[in-house]
């Protein structure tokens, strides 16, 4: 069997190869002539996972847009870092209008914290489609739930009131900061992982007020909307007073918005095409009805005005985030300087090199068992030291700042490792579970790394096909027919299930993406 592959197998192999070639040729020959925008499906890049409000908005938009244009909109979820991951995806792609960024006001807070105005200016803010006002929600079961009482109580106990809501530095937090600022009161912001969990704390009487969307109070009669920040009372909540009515004119228009942006430099004719579409969708009755039910205002603000709005938001965020120490101040002190920038990187590289050369010595040495154990301990110690140095850089405005808990873990990790080091030297038995074929493991790791790089260039499907065949061959599997069937079935499965059904945007590779 080793010497000659029999005829049937050769034929099959050739056929399979021929099929691949055919598909490739077909893909390459598809005409890619110049045509008017849009000539292929448009991706809507959503910065959260499926199921959130912005995701629902994007999907609903795609559905309604289908009435007015033949082009397909495909929603792609790129969650992470409050929108930065999705933003990078959009601004790294060409400015051809095929990547539409579904954005909200919360993104601006994150942009300001991470990239300043650079990120705001990296986009063309095409259209704002929805706006919902911010409001204060209290617990009806608590004696203090009217806005006047909350204020009175805050003045009597400055800095003692607990306000609950989602993440620090987000829109709701900044709105709270602004409200405190305008009224001249002080309170504490207790952030929770989500608005829902903050509402649970409010219902559990652990906080006095919650800042968020009026819709959050629906469905639970104990939740009471104390004040809303809009010019007039809301249609869906006619009993809720506005801040203006309550005597504060500076808080009449704090709202959350949702809209769409494109990469800066997108051709004007593409933006015009979008303008037309956004206008039609905003006027669509089904679209308006869908959002009206949830008490969300359908608005339409076009590019120039939207950009002004966004840059205003960015300024307000920057002001309040600096004020509350979330935007890092300048590092001070020797240790902080050590921990920052180049010194830190150089130190990290030196430590890693030391560790790597140690690993090599272990591999070569007769004491490999004990040295290996020491090196693992060394790895944990190095990580601890690097993290400890980094934590010197964190702002420390309150007693339990962002450095407190990581240091707590480090201060437990270090003594445990030292104890283990002591024990390792005391009872010097070889306990490592090593096997004879480290070479196979290392070459497989090499394969995987090559595979990952190949995926970027040739795309998921081709490189995975090759990887599976190579992997089977390397491990000594020689039934060629089966090999091709296995690889082919996997490709088909991942295409149908992951790519088509679950909309996982498997990379098609630079080669293909640039060709089409």
């Amino acid at each position: 069997m080793k010497q000659v592959l029999n005829d049937a197998k050769v034929k099959f192999t050739l056929r399979a190869l021929g099929l691949v070639m055919l598909i490739l040729a077909f893909l390459l020959l598809v005409p890619s002539a110049e045509a008017a925008f849009p000539e292929k499906p448009i991706k809507i890049v959503v910065y959260t996972g499926p199921g959130g409000l912005i995701d629902i908005s994007a999907r609903k938009f795609a559905g309604i847009a289908a009435k007015y244009t033949d082009v397909n909109f495909v929603v792609e979820n790129k969650p992470g870092a409050g929108g930065i991951v999705a933003l990078k995806k959009v601004i790294q792609a060409p400015a051809n209008g095929y990547n539409l960024y579904a954005c909200t006001k919360s993104n601006i807070a994150k942009f300001v914290q991470v990239g300043g105005n650079d990120y705001v200016d990296a986009l063309s803010w095409v259209a704002m489609l929805m706006a919902d006002p911010e409001c204060i929600i209290t617990n009806r079961q608590m004696p203090i739930h009217q806005w006047a009482d909350v204020l009175e109580n805050a003045r009597q106990n400055p800095g003692e009131q607990n306000w609950v809501g989602p993440a620090a530095g987000g829109l709701d937090h900044v709105t709270a900061l602004k409200i405190w600022d305008k009224y001249g009161i002080e309170a504490k912001w207790i952030p929770f992982k989500s608005g829902g969990k903050a509402l649970a704390a409010l219902l559990g009487e652990q906080g006095i007020a919650y800042v968020g969307n009026p819709r959050d109070a629906l469905g639970n009669p104990d939740l009471f909307i104390a004040a809303v920040s809009s010019p007039q009372r809301l249609e869906a909540f006619p009993d809720v007073p506005t801040f203006t009515e309550l005597g504060m004119t500076d808080l009449e228009n704090e709202f959350m918005w949702r809209g769409f942006a494109l990469k800066k430099g997108t051709p004007p004719e593409v933006i015009e095409w979008y303008d037309e579409l956004f206008k039609k969708v905003s006027a669509d009755q089904e679209w308006r009805d869908f959002w009206a039910k949830g008490g969300i205002d359908v608005a339409y603000v076009a590019e120039a005005e939207f950009y002004t709005l966004v840059s205003e938001d960015a300024k307000v965020f920057e002001y309040y985030l600096k004020k509350s120490d979330i935007l890092p101040g300048d590092a001070v002190g020797f240790m902080a300087k050590m921990a920052s920038g180049t010194t830190f990187s150089i130190l990290a590289i030196i430590l890693v090199c030391l560790w790597l050369s140690g690993s090599y010595m272990v591999h070569m040495s007769q004491y490999s068992a004990i040295l290996g154990r020491v090196l693992v301990i060394g790895f944990f110690l190095i990580v601890s030291i690097l993290f400890l140095l980094q934590s010197m850089n964190f702002p420390s405005s309150s007693a339990v700042g962002p450095a407190a808990v990581p240091r707590l873990w480090i201060f437990m990790l270090v003594p445990l490792n030292l104890l283990l080091l002591f024990k390792t030297f005391r009872n010097n038995e070889a306990v490592a579970e090593t096997g004879p074929r480290v070479d196979i493991v290392l070459s497989f790791i090499g394969f995987l790394v090559i595979y990952l790089f190949a995926m970027q260039i040739f795309g998921y499907f081709l490189s995975t096909f090759a990887f599976i065949i190579a992997g089977l061959y390397y491990l000594g599997y020689r039934k060629w027919r089966n090999t091709f069937i296995i690889a082919g079935v996997w490709i088909l499965f991942s295409y149908l299930i992951f790519y088509k059904t679950l909309y996982v945007p498997l990379p098609l590779g630079m080669l293909f993406e640039n060709l089409f």
């Binding site: 629902i56 969650p79 930065i84 979330i326 990952l452 089977l472």
Partner: protein
Amino acid sequence: MELLSNLGDGLAFVLGVVPILTITLGVAMGIVAGATPGLSPSMGVALLVPFTYAMSPTLALILLVAIYIAANYGGSITAVTINAPGTPSSVVTAFDGYPLTKKGKPGMALGVSLVSSTVGGIIGTLILIFFSGPLARFALKFHPAEYFALAIFGLTTVASLGGKNWIKAFIAAMFGLLLNTIGIDPISGVSRFTFGISFLYDGFALIPALIGLFALSEIFKQLESGDFSSQQVESGKQEWPTAGAYWKLKNTIMRSSFMGTIIGIFPGAGATIAAFISYDVAKRVSKHPEEFGHGSMEGVAAAEGANSSSVGGALIPLLTLAIPGSASTAVLIGALMIHDLTPGPQLFISNPDIIYGLLASLLLANIILLALGFFGSRLWIKVTTIPKTVLFPLIFAVSIIGSFAVRNSFFDVAACLAFGVFGWILRRYNYPVAPIILGMVLGNIAETNFIRAIMMGGWTVFFTRPLSLGMLVVAAASFAVPLIQARKQSKIQENDK
């Protein structure tokens, strides 16, 4: 009783042809989603939300909840057959499920995990139906101090998980906790240890770490041993548990189901902590604690009973208070909103048909899960008969697509590979890897609630609230007892010498 008549109406509704088909479809899809590493129950639910737009609200919810339940069970299939837990909570199932497969008895593990899942799911549902009101009021009283105490309690399970290697187990857990601090600090909003890499602003995703530390490190280990020409299990003869074997596990399953439901109520704590704590307790009260970690059926039952019953618990705050207890239930809130329903206590009054239809469908979904799982087990046990030379490259392919699917990001794929290599090195030197996952799951809950509690009530708050103090005392005891026992035993051994 109004409740019973409402429930009767609900049962009458779900026993129709269309609802039964819907539930069956949901259970089947859920099993697949759960069994695929990288597709968590919440993703399975979330991905299907758009398909439910056109359905009636009750049917849509029934479908989504069926997926949720089945995905929690589905995670155990790959945990048992290839040591690749499909969901974070099935990490605990892998502790004993995979050793059983290595011993050539995957059928025992699959059978026990299916039956414990079903029984756990039904118990969780019954508690949800009859006690959701009082339990929801109790849940609201949880202060951040209590969440912190619960997280610490969860961490102390490391002491008994590690056994003789307890120092290494704790190092692994602390390392997991430290890894968890990478990213934007949820309390202060400051970005920590991200080194300017934007993918790290949210920290390491759990699923790629899970796949790397368990599935990839296991393959690397077996590659290193040079033994990969065979298959894991001889095909042909398969051993399944007998009715007597299930009956012996009744106490373990019941106990874990109750614990799972209660822990599931804590919004955010969920299935994973429930599984760890229940496993720990099962080991302590077991007559054969030495079998745990080497293929104990009690261990599998404890893990699966707890993680499946936690579904019922997580639905309590969702339905009664509109507060999501887990990522999956958060997606369900979105689904309710799309169908123009506002979750919360009002829903019981305004739409009792939907609520009780949903509750009745939970019972039915568990029964359908048992049936589909029974036939399915005969099918996916075949995975263990695939030659390793074929299986290993395919597991790499699954791991890579699974870790990519979590956030559609290459960074996660690279992280998965790095975790795989790291896990392999750790396991060479006898470090358990499960505590790293536990640390990564608990780190956020422990830290944010620790700081929240101090912000709200000062440093003493942990000791002045009776519930929190009680939980911390139990945690301290559960930490100390195994260490003292281990010490005594080693003294006895030394004396014997």
